[in-house]
């Protein structure tokens, strides 16, 4: 069975989609009221974010667009020290998508929601003519209770330590491989990060800044921080954990792991006294978590090789143009 334009028309087919698919998987009281808007109660400071997901391919090792749409938005909340609570979800579906494919995506979203008790409380579905979008686009917005305040890209100070929660570059490498049909056993790191963040907060780690290294990878995060806080960052290359599969794919495609997207990996800057403790906590979730560098004077992000060569890391470039002879 395929999704036709009539599924987005607001009539019988739309109702069917809502009742038999979305209510089934996103089952909760607020959603089921089917009002024009969800009414939610909160008396805390809240964090609020939105993101649209357009990944191709929509299914990949370690995840799919559905999982990604929940994880991406929840992680953005978590990075602000907020416990994800409620999500909205908007679907833009290409006419002709298999119903079973959509169901798989929705189920996958539901599986993630259960992991950290977050609810989809409102949503929307549109079906557009074939060719208007690539299979399916999902937008999610999210609200979370702020548990820890004052986490900001402009908080970094000289001496602070930089940690990364695990090995880097997996999601980007998986997508690259899949897109060009290169076989790999590598799995995306796509994962909710709230548990790790909560553990850091519970341990009273002095978190200065925190960001999931999605598009633009670790490079983009570090450059944004250097810019916002007007500081320099030095990263020791040997402390960056990279799996052999990611390295191999990078060699083949000419990318740097540090530039590749992640979907369940975050960078966190902490007070230098807390660094060791933070590392221990993060290692409980992933043994590849480590302190990778520190904040220094200056305004550049610098990668130091094991032989002490210093290279500037810039924002990843759209095009890969060799400069060497």
């Amino acid at each position: 069975m395929k999704i036709t334009l009539s599924y987005g028309g607001g009539g019988e087919e739309t109702q069917k989609l809502i009742n038999e698919l979305f209510y089934k998987y996103f089952d909760n009281e607020i959603l089921k009221k089917s009002e024009d808007a969800a009414v939610i109660e909160t008396n805390k400071k809240i964090a609020f974010t939105t993101d649209s997901f357009t990944v191709s391919p929509i299914f990949f090792n370690g995840g799919d667009i559905g999982k990604l749409s929940v994880v991406g938005t929840c992680n953005d909340l978590a990075m602000m020290g907020a416990k994800p609570k409620y999500l909205s979800s908007g679907f833009i579906i290409e006419e002709g998508l298999e119903y079973s494919t959509l169901e798989k995506i929705v189920k996958s979203m539901s599986d993630e929601l259960k992991k950290i008790d977050v609810k989809i409380v409102c949503g929307d579905t549109k079906v557009v003519p074939a060719g208007s979008v690539d299979k399916i686009f999902i937008n999610t917005s999210g609200i979370g209770d702020v548990i820890k305040e004052n986490i900001s890209a402009s908080n970094l100070e000289v001496g602070d330590k930089i940690l990364i929660s695990r090995d880097i570059g997996r999601h980007g490498a998986v997508i690259l491989a899949k897109r060009y049909g290169v076989e790999t056993n590598l799995e995306s790191d796509c994962k909710l990060l709230w548990d790790e963040v909560k553990a850091l907060i519970d341990a009273k780690i002095n978190i200065k800044a925190m960001r999931d290294a999605t598009r633009g990878g670790v490079s983009a995060v570090l450059n944004e921080w250097a810019n916002s806080s007007n500081i320099g960052i030095e990263i020791k290359e040997e402390n960056l954990k990279i799996s052999d599969e990611v390295l191999g794919l990078c060699e083949m495609f000419g990318f740097e792991p540090i530039d590749l997207a992640n979907e369940g990996t975050f960078v966190v800057a902490v007070n230098s006294e807390d660094a060791k403790k933070a590392e221990e906590i993060l290692k409980k979730f992933n043994e590849n978590a480590s302190i990778v560098g520190e904040v220094v004077e200056g305004n550049r992000v610098v990668l130091i090789s094991p032989w002490n060569t210093k290279r500037v890391i810039e924002l990843p470039k759209g095009e890969l143009l060799p400069r060497i002879c």
Partner: protein, 727 residues
């Protein structure tokens, strides 16, 4: 009648005025010589005045270089004698001399037991010694050099002030009593270093020599920086140095005691010998005779050179074998010039340091040359040759700062009818080298009191130099890389008109956003047309593909052949990957070397070309005829390389012959004078064969590789820009 000359060039601190004095008095001329801000001014009267200029030109001191002479005929003043006049010591228009190896006269004194400078490690005179590397500011006076902290003793002062002395105004002059001192440094606990005491300078050198004999790795401070040194004949030491420095394969240069010692290990021609012995003392690439393991594995060349400072000479008093003498740096960074930095960066690489307290102000690497068809070809223009100046006739352009390429970077200035080319700066890959690049720009601005009106850089958007240029809030002009290569040849050969230019190199940003490098241009001073180029292919792996050619190389051969490779399926998929297109000749060399089995990886830049040269066989005359189409298709060559995998001589010879044939054929087809430039022409066999077949202009005075790009850029500005206010 009275003649007045105004002379510009390298005419200060190089014994120019004493020479003028000697010639004038020997011809019984009256008048004076004077340094001024306009240059050296000479006035002469007397019967022999017409002989003067020729005598001067024929007897120039070794370091002097005349760039411009103006002559005025004036009424008699009836001078009574000839004198060296003192005046305002301004050197705005005077060029700065490169550093020159210690001269014969100084060596003789150094060997003379009765001379007060017997075995003195810092002996020099106006004809030799440090210049560019010690100058901090202008004018070139001792107070503006790193010799300022050494107060001249009475004896030295006497020599310095005597117009007929070889050391008249030799700014770095010194002796045991007043000069710099050597020091031996060695490791103590926890990364700390200490100084070892000796009662005599020569004992310090002997100590270090003994350590080299024992197989230790030492650092020795030379003119433009430190060398890492070990016994070149001690395989264990050589491989240990490679391990510690993380430099698995790239060849090491070797320093020899004398030319006889070189002859034991290498075959050298007369021309090569001449270059090895020349006062600039470059590293000369020569043919191996006796294999020394670990020095230049896999290729058939050595880079050899002779001692050029008194310290090197004295060192070889205790050594009867060649030493590795490679620039002390961490890979891709500039040469290290002080021991603090050395200890910080290479403390774990070296066991002992032979330091001295004469600071190196401007770092300067060794120059590298080779001989092609009895002529010198620059691979790196640096110590001994740089800064290099050219004089320009017209005076119409604005002041130009040209920033060169990203690899083998050099910068060039244009001002006041003069072009100055900097020494080799290096590959702008690391923070250290980018800082050195910026430091060099500032040094040159200071030393020449230079301020640019226009900056010219490459078109590559990611070159460090491009980024720097665009951050300066000045007018910036971007010139295509290969056009710059062509212009550099036109500049140094003073060419005008239309030319057919073969521009073969590894990488240059093309006008269409792809990576060019196998280009044939129709070119003038003002413009170019890309008339032929290697049929573009996807550079699978982008920059990483340069190091690992396997994927893109296999994509270049016929499908049924490619199927034999186990990564064939992947390569087919990668064909659609996000990779740039390239027409690079450098990549063609890598692909041929890979497909024929000569290399697995591109372990250092240029290795494919060197290995292909090693296997070239004169007796194999065949070639593959590449058709003259706009896109030059090398597929037949790639297939041939693969089908003859393992037959290295055959593949190498057919490949080189085919390139020679292509160049010759195109030259005849267009019937235009030919220009050759780009790093691929460092390939001595290729360049040599082409030159045997056709006449071609190529880079002789500046590097043929990207080290010459800044000259091409500056030339573009001189020929195409006009001063706005007409001054």
């Amino acid at each position: 009648m009275r003649y007045k000359y105004i002379i510009n060039g390298i005419v200060q601190g190089v014994g120019f005025r004493p020479t003028v004095y000697k010639i004038a008095t020997s011809l019984n001329l009256k008048g004076y010589v004077l340094n001024s801000s306009d240059g050296v001014i000479i006035e002469i009267e007397g019967k022999n005045r017409d002989k003067f200029l020729n005598e001067l030109k024929n007897n120039l001191p070794p370091l002097a270089k005349i760039e411009k002479i103006e002559c005025f005929k004036l009424p008699l003043k009836n001078y009574k004698d000839f004198e060296i006049k003192y005046s305002i010591n301004t050197t705005k228009t005077t060029s700065i001399s490169p550093d020159i190896s210690v001269c014969e006269d100084c060596l003789k004194e150094m060997r003379d037991k009765n001379n007060r400078r017997y075995l003195y490690p810092f002996i020099n005179c106006t004809n030799c010694g440090p210049r560019y590397t010690i100058i901090e500011n202008i004018p070139y006076d001792r107070v503006n050099t790193s010799m300022k902290k050494f107060k001249m003793c009475e004896n030295c002062k006497k020599e310095y002030e005597n117009p007929i002395e070889r050391r008249f105004h030799a700014e770095p002059i010194s002796c045991y009593e007043c000069g710099p001192k050597l020091s031996v440094k060695f490791k103590i606990e926890n990364g700390k270093w200490a100084v070892k005491d000796f009662n005599r300078e020569i004992k310090k050198i002997e100590f270090i020599a003994n350590k080299i004999k024992e197989g230790k790795i030492v650092a020795i401070k030379g003119l433009g920086g430190f060398h890492l040194v070990c016994d070149a004949t001690n395989e264990k030491s050589v491989y240990e140095l490679r391990k510690r420095k993380n430099r698995p394969l790239k060849p090491f240069a070797m320093m020899f005691r004398d030319i006889e010692m070189i002859k034991k290990y290498a075959d050298i021609s007369n021309k090569e010998k001449e270059l090895i012995l020349s006062k600039e003392r470059p590293i000369v690439i020569v043919k191996k005779k006796k294999e020394l393991k670990g020095i230049a594995d896999k290729i058939d060349r050595y880079g050899v050179f002779l001692p050029y400072t008194p310290i090197h000479y004295l060192l070889f008093d205790f050594l009867d074998f060649p030493i590795v003498a490679t620039s002390a740096n961490i890979s891709d960074e500039p040469i290290i010039r002080d021991s603090k930095e050395l200890i910080e960066k290479l403390g774990s690489v070296v066991d002992f340091i032979l330091d001295n307290n004469r600071d190196i102000i401007n770092a300067c690497d060794d120059s590298v040359v080779q001989v092609v068809n009895e002529e010198r070809l620059f691979m790196r223009l640096s110590r001994g040759f740089a800064p290099k100046s050219f004089y320009i006739d017209k005076k119409t352009s604005p002041n130009i700062l040209a920033l060169g390429a990203n690899q083998k970077n050099t910068i060039s200035l244009y001002f006041n009818q003069k072009v100055i080319l900097s020494p080799h700066i290096g590959d702008l890959k690391t923070l250290g080298s980018i800082e050195f690049f910026e430091r060099t720009i500032n040094t040159f601005r200071r030393l020449y009191e230079f301020k640019e009106d226009v900056i010219i850089c490459d078109k590559h958007p990611y070159y460090e130099s491009t980024k720097w240029a665009l951050s300066q809030n000045k007018e910036v002009i971007q010139i295509q890389h290969h056009f710059s290569h062509a212009l550099s040849v036109m500049f140094e050969n003073s060419l005008d008109g239309e030319f057919l230019a073969f521009l073969f190199d590894g990488t240059g940003y093309g006008d269409d956003g792809s990576i060019w490098g196998g280009e044939v241009f129709r070119v003038t001073k003002h413009n170019y047309e890309r008339i032929h180029y290697i049929k573009p292919f996807k550079l699978i792996g982008s920059e990483k593909g340069v190091k690992n050619p396997s994927n893109y190389a296999i994509s270049l051969i016929d499908e049924q052949l490619a199927k034999n490779f186990k990564n064939y399926e992947i390569i087919k998929k990668l064909q659609n990957g996000p990779f740039p297109l390239t027409s690079s000749m450098g990549r063609v060399f890598d692909a041929v070397a890979f497909l024929s089995g000569m290399i697995d990886r591109n372990e250092y830049e240029g290795i494919s070309g060197l290995i292909i040269e090693k296997f070239y066989n004169e007796n194999i005359k065949g070639f593959i005829d590449i058709g003259i189409k706009k896109e030059l298709d090398f597929k037949e060559i790639f297939n041939f390389a693969y089908l003859n995998r393992g037959k290295f001589e055959l593949v190498s010879s057919i490949f080189i012959n085919s390139l020679v044939n292509l160049v010759v054929k195109l030259s005849k087809y267009y019937n235009l004078p030919v220009i050759l430039s780009g790093g691929v022409f460092q390939n001595k066999t290729l360049l040599g064969k082409i030159l045997k077949n056709i006449y071609a202009y190529y880079n002789k005075e500046i590097p043929i590789n990207d080290g010459g790009i800044s000259i091409g850029q500056v030339a573009y500005g001189i020929w195409n820009l006009r001063r706005e206010n007409g001054t």
